[in-house]
């Protein structure tokens, strides 16, 4: 049986920050599929190499929504380089931990962010993140 969520997860689930879309975003990331039960869309606005705004839309469980909310909070004000250093573990830690069965939600969050940055870089420089592939599409979701 799943473990209960931390207070911070419940807070971000109950009052998610940054829900919605950004008009004319500089980068959009879409990750997940209905098979695994989680889909995330992330939108970023970038000015002078700094992420000035981030928003999300998510289909998924409590952990998926809380992760989306937390990661959009974490990236705001960060340079692209610093944003790329945010790992799924850092997001989970910031949420006061996630139940083991829900850790894949944090991977999805990291992927959605990287996918948005990848999209931004392609638009800006014509080249995306070198060798980047969504982690959530390897491993445990393969069994579907």
């Amino acid at each position: 049986m799943p473990e209960p969520y931390s207070e911070r997860v419940m807070d971000h689930f109950k009052n998610p920050r940054n829900v919605g879309e950004i008009e004319n975003p500089d980068g959009v990331g879409k990750i997940g599929n209905p098979v695994c039960g989680d889909i995330m869309e992330m939108y970023i606005k970038v000015k002078d190499n700094v992420i000035v705004d981030a928003k999300f839309k998510t289909f998924g469980c409590g952990a998926a929504i809380a992760t989306s909310s937390m990661i959009t909070e974490m990236v705001k004000g960060k340079t692209i380089e610093d944003a790329l250093k945010i790992s799924n573990k850092a997001v989970a830690e910031a949420l006061g931990g996630l139940p083991p069965v829900k850790m894949h939600c944090s991977v999805l969050g990291e992927d959605a962010l990287k996918s948005a940055i990848n999209d931004y870089l392609i638009k800006k420089t014509g080249k995306g993140l070198p060798g980047w592939k969504p982690r959530s599409e390897e491993g445990h979701h393969g069994k579907h």
């Binding site: 049986m1 799943p2 419940m10 689930f13 109950k14 998610p16 829900v19 879409k30 209905p34 098979v35 695994c36 039960g37 989680d38 889909i39 995330m40 869309e41 839309k57 998510t58 289909f59 998924g60 469980c61 409590g62 952990a63 998926a64 929504i65 069965v101 829900k102 894949h104 445990h140 979701h141 069994k143 579907h144």
Partner: protein
Amino acid sequence: MKKIYMDYAATTPTHPDVLAAMQPYFCEKFGNPSSVHSFGRETRAAVENARKQVADLIGAKLKEIVFTSSGTEANNFAIEGIAFANEKVGNHIITSKIEHHAILEPCEFLESKGFKITYLPVDKYGLVDPKEVERAITDKTILVSIMQANNEIGTIEPIEEISKVIKEAASKLGHKVYFHTDAVQTVGQIEVNVDKLGVDLLSMSAHKFYGPKGVGALYIRSGTRIVPFIRGGAQENHRRASTENVVGIVGMGVAAELASKELDSREKELIRLRDKLIKGLLAKIPQTSLNGHPTKRLPKNVNISVKYIEGESMLLNLDFEGIAASTGSACTSGSLEPSHVLMALGLSHEGAHGSIRFSLGRLNTEEDVEKVLEVFPKIVEKLRSMSPLYKGKEEA
């Protein structure tokens, strides 16, 4: 905030009369029913009285009731007990894709021991077709196990028709094909009569009908060849070893008697509340659909799929409002797979992840249903506004 419990298919609160009947058996009447002295005789009589109460509820004979620790144990006992007692006759078992894991996992275990299992499909309502059962029977078939009603979607299976088909096939084969039904969701809730249903074995669980947790029973028709599941004593007529859970058994007996008396009125009231809730949800929330059969349905069961949003997030939001429900979404099961029952109906992954079950019981009122109808549409709206799948589908 008044809390509203609508998860009666998971478990029910013990009826106060049941609790009162159980209490003396903790400290005062504590004897071991196997003891010959007066302490033992006293609890032996209590166990036998409970056996009568349970037997009467389902139209069985006294010696056909074996108490177990749960519905799960009753299911394991039925499947493995019949398989190992009759493996010289055949090694084939037929069941359905929508059984509880307490049936499916013993079947998978038997597969690893050389048995062959046929998992029958169901139609979009979750109904097993008796003709499919007929076609699946071979000269190696020793057991068919089909649940009387499904715990998730509430669909009531055509057990009588399936029984007829099995009996006809067995008479041609010249050997017995046993018929078991998992009646955990029906006993004490709708009419259950073993002769009318035509079953040889039937599993039940006390805590699903206002009895205590930790006690169940298996009905075993006289003359059935079955080996014990738990060994080490002569209790339950050598069929189930271990000192009887006297307290629990007494509770189950009283719960059975109460159910016999109140069955009709409970059923009528639940159907009324159920239909009000179903109608209200489908009318108030666009793009929802009922899972399970509209009429061949447990009086307590409401199961709907809400498009574009996920079950656990609905559940948590309902919990914030003090409302307890359940979902077939993978996210609450501890695995990443959505409900095998909803997938067997042909639902998409999204539909299965977006399912929610309200199961009603004797303490629910009209106001409870109205509260859910007031609160739930707002939750759906909130979650849909966050869903990337809902974009552009508002009018669909």
